[in-house]
């Protein structure tokens, strides 16, 4: 059953303030396992030897919670297109492979331990304006706001962001433009989100800069690595909105 033999080079780092290093392990796996199940097997082995298991973040294991955050062979979430690390299966590898696993690396995402990083900056970007200001109970009837189907679809495409941070990890500048622009697009493409659009663009971009994320230089790596395949058109839209808000906002 477990007929794949793999060599793993995994980044081990005890805490944020200690130096990390690569550690090499071998593991027997099956091609039907998910990538994280293969790591489970490794961890069970380490625990049985009274060694410390590799810390990695994961939760839903079906590609939607956005918790998993590892770079596999140099690519955030690994080699398969439109796939989170938890949905990656071992059939994408072959016996004898050496696989390198490291944490997302970016100034905005300090390492916590091994493969786990701190992505709370994303929460603060949303808190700076990534919402529509409507209290519970204030809403009109749902059908009183008709939205053209394609327009709703575009907003949806941007709204599928899972907040994993692969875009930041993929970017040579550690920029969070894809994440921020996806939220700006999701809300800005809907009539409900129009009223606060300009303020939202200004304050989210300001917060993004404050968190230490880099500038966007249009390399497009974020779009390639995004497990939800969110388009860099959103970045163009954000840039247009940002410029427009600079000229027209009276704030």
């Amino acid at each position: 059953m477990n007929d794949m033999k793999l060599q793993l080079k995994i980044w081990r780092q005890r805490s944020a303030d200690q130096k990390g290093h690569f550690e090499t392990y071998t593991v027997q796996a099956s091609e039907h396992m998910s990538f994280l199940e293969m790591l489970d097997v490794l961890n069970e082995e380490l625990i049985s030897k009274k060694e410390e298991p590799v810390v990695f973040e994961h939760d839903c294991r079906e590609g939607i919670c956005g918790a998993c955050s590892m770079v596999i062979n140099g690519r955030p979430h690994g080699p398969s297109k439109g796939t989170t690390a938890c949905q990656l299966h071992m059939r994408s590898f072959k016996s004898g492979d050496t696989i390198t696993i490291e944490p997302f690396r970016a100034k905005g995402f300090p390492v916590i331990k091994d493969l786990a990083v701190d992505r709370s900056a994303f929460d603060r970007i949303i808190q700076s304006g990534g919402y529509i200001s409507v209290n519970t109970g204030q809403a009109p009837d749902g059908n009183s706001i008709p939205i053209e189907k394609d327009q709703a679809g575009k907003a949806f495409d941007a709204a599928t962001c899972i907040g994993c941070g692969a875009c930041v990890a993929a970017c040579p500048n550690g920029s969070a433009m894809l994440f921020t622009s996806a939220k700006v697009s999701h809300l800005g493409l809907l009539p409900q989100g129009q009223i606060e659009h300009q303020n939202r663009v200004q304050s989210m971009v300001a917060q993004m800069d404050k968190e230490g994320f880099g500038m966007c230089s249009n390399t497009g790596a974020c779009e390639v690595e995004c497990p939800k395949e969110i388009s860099i058109e959103n970045i163009a839209r954000l840039n247009r909105s940002y410029m427009a808000s600079m000229f027209t906002s009276d704030k």
Binding site: R14, S15, D40, I47, E51, P53, D123, A139, H186
Partner: protein, 668 residues
């Protein structure tokens, strides 16, 4: 035995007027007092995030706790299919009454009438609220909201956002919470796990939380505590729940005197990707919405099934006349859209008869060929092609299916490596949701004053079986529209209570207790991993308290869990230390609580000598193999107390049905 009074506090009056009249007459807390009152909310899924945001909007000071790195990761995010609402936008005869009735009947008459009616009333407001927040629900060409059907009902009342409805609703609630955080009304404690409740003079006044990054224990005080911590499906180890889902917050409430209601009512979802190996860590759901278009079948003969299992044949080679579309055959009125409990048992029956189609023998087909054909023809026709080729029909039909369920089909292919457009999907039931939960009254308050439970964490609305697309509805109804009112009934009596101190004897004692529990699992230094105990517990639960149960098995299961618990405390090994980020320690504390809950579930299932909803006792079946309910003796809520001597004691709340007649639930 202590005397516990389970008063439901359902207000008087006509069913349809109760909630409105109650809201109009309940005690309020004035804005100047709200500013002085602190509320702790544990959990940031749909119920927790919506409650915290709304309570913040009202002016309370809210402290929000989640063990995740961000509130947005709560497991509500993974709900796929949709959310029900009695909008009747489709003009197909829906109404608040019908949603109420479907939910009561779907729950096999084991839920409280007044709570369910209130849920149906709130359903309409939820959709409005979410649209206003920017939730991108599916729309028709005219720009208005679209609907689809779910199991157990005959109207189209489910609102959806592709196969990611939970994600979109949670992002809506998360953003509402983020907004309150930016206003300073909600303080969010990420990566903090609640490890105990603190009671002062009998009232819930705070929690002990562990900072998961540093291991430090923190004492947090408030005027009341709201738990929105989800369900306990992971007691089965393998389930569709996320890896971190756990019962600990709810179980800590039980260990502080709250009662666990109907714990044996667990939902086994019929359409999940089947188990493929021992290494498996979790199971993946394929949304119930697929049963709108997918037809469930197995081969008529064992020989064909065996040939498929041995890979001598594939499903699509079985001719139409040799297939048994058993749901359509057994339940013609609802067909493939029977409720979950019914569909799951039927799949088990088919596999027990030797007709399973996976190498393990545990899978049935969910086939889209007929829908692809039907949609393909319609699409060709509307394109002006009245005589399309087979190939054109297929290709057009596949496009329609892709537009409706694309992400689910993609997920299936990623996991199994098989293309579901070309071959029928293989599915099998898996643990998905828990109807049981903390006992709460009409105010969603447990029997511990000041301690509230919302969403899946309470037992309140789904009886013995939950209908599809109702979990999201209940989570948001509780959080947005119920607790913001009912919490005032408790807090209006607290306006003179000053800020609660967090260094009193009660807090120190609770903190000490948590320290001891942590030390106990850290210091055992045995030889078996936490994971291995969890896996063994799951196997016991699935074997003896799973899709079908009997008295003998339940007694045996209980003993096995007691043994396993002893072994756990004697031989568990937790690596690392308490003073650091240590996921193994987190898991150990959760598994310890599961080991007590599991026993309670066995006891509950043994007490309930009837089959109803998700609880199927082999001794109680009708002649044609359907569940046999016993209304005479079991029309009650079982609320279990766990004593300090590890005894499990039953308390009952009798259910009264003044508006619906208790009938045999038939979908035939």
């Amino acid at each position: 035995m202590s005397k516990i009074n389970l008063e439901s506090k359902v207000p008087k009056g006509e069913l349809a007027e109760k909630w409105t009249e109650y809201k109009g007459s309940m005690n309020l807390v004035a804005p100047n007092n709200k500013r002085r009152i602190d509320i702790i909310v544990v959990g940031t899924g749909l119920a927790g995030a919506s409650a915290a945001a709304t309570l913040g909007e009202l002016g309370y000071n809210v402290k929000v706790f989640t063990f995740h790195d961000s509130p947005r990761r709560a497991h509500s995010i993974a709900a796929q299919g949709g959310i029900n609402a009695a909008k009747n936008y489709q003009n197909d005869g829906d109404s608040i009454w019908r949603l109420f009735y479907d939910t009561i009947k779907g729950g096999d008459y084991r839920s409280r009438e007044a709570n369910v009616h209130r849920l149906a009333e709130a359903s309409k407001d939820i959709i409005d609220q979410c649209v206003a927040q920017g939730v991108p629900f599916a729309r028709e060409y005219g720009g208005l909201l679209a609907n689809r059907s779910f199991g157990g009902v005959q109207v189209s009342r489910t609102f959806y956002a592709r196969g990611q409805t939970g994600q979109q609703l949670l992002i809506g609630a998360y953003q509402a919470l983020a907004r309150q955080a930016s206003h300073g009304k909600c303080t969010i404690y990420n990566r903090h796990e609640m490890l105990d409740i603190v009671k002062v003079d009998g009232k819930a006044r705070g929690i002990i939380a562990r900072n998961l990054l540093t291991g430090e224990l923190e004492r947090h005080s408030a005027h009341c505590v709201v738990l929105a911590t989800g369900g306990y499906g992971n007691v089965f180890y393998l389930s569709t729940n996320a890896m971190g889902c756990n019962v600990s917050a709810a179980w800590r409430a039980v260990r502080n005197g709250a009662l666990m209601a109907n714990p044996c009512f667990t939902q086994i979802h019929p359409t999940c990707i089947p188990v493929s190996g021992d290494y498996q860590s979790k199971l993946t759901l394929m949304s119930e919405s697929l049963r709108n278009d997918g037809r469930v079948w197995v081969p008529k003969t064992k020989e064909d099934a065996e040939a498929i299992r041995e890979r001598r044949k594939v499903g699509k080679e079985i001719p139409e006349e040799d297939r048994d579309y058993y749901l359509e055959r057994r339940y013609p009125a609802f067909g493939n859209l029977v409720p979950r409990d019914v569909a799951s048992r039927a799949a088990k029956t088919a596999c027990d008869e030797g007709k399973g189609v996976a190498p393990t023998g545990l899978a049935v087909y969910l086939d889209f060929a007929a829908a692809i054909e039907r949609y393909g023809r319609a699409e060709a026709f509307s394109n002006g092609n009245t005589n399309p080729s087979e190939e054109q029909v297929r290709s057009l039909g596949e496009k329609v299916i892709e537009a409706k369920y694309g992400n689910l089909f993609q997920m299936y292919e990623k996991i199994t490596g098989e293309n579901p457009y070309k071959n029928p999907m293989k599915i099998y039931p898996a643990v998905h949701y828990t109807m049981g939960g903390l006992w709460v009254d009409y105010n969603l308050e447990t029997n511990v004053p000041g301690l509230f439970a919302l969403g899946e964490a309470n037992f309140s609305d789904h009886g013995a079986n939950r209908l599809g697309a109702s979990a999201l509805m209940q989570g948001l109804a509780d959080g947005y529209f119920v607790i913001p009112y009912t919490i005032g009934q408790f807090l209006s009596g607290e306006i003179r209570t000053p800020e609660i101190a967090n260094d009193t004897e009660e807090f120190m004692k609770a903190e000490e207790g948590v320290k001891n529990r942590i030390a106990q699992v850290m210091n055992t230094k045995g030889n078996q991993s936490v994971e291995s105990f969890h896996r063994r517990l799951g196997k016991i639960m699935w074997e003896y308290c799973g899709m079908s149960r009997n008295a003998e098995g339940l007694k045996k299961g209980r003993e096995m869990i007691q043994e396993l618990r002893k072994e756990f405390y004697a031989d568990v090994f937790v690596p690392g230390t308490n003073e650091e980020f240590n996921p193994e320690l987190e898991k150990a504390l959760r598994v310890a609580d599961f080991l007590e809950l599991g026993e309670t579930m066995m006891v509950d299932a043994l007490d309930r000598n009837e089959s109803c909803g998700g609880h199927f006792r082999e001794e109680y079946v009708t002649e044609d193999g359907e569940a046999k309910r016993n209304d005479e003796d079991y029309t009650y809520v079982s609320a279990w107390e766990w004593t300090d001597d590890d005894e499990v004691i039953l308390h009952k709340e009798d259910l009264k049905f003044d508006n619906v007649e208790l009938k045999t639930r038939s979908y035939k």
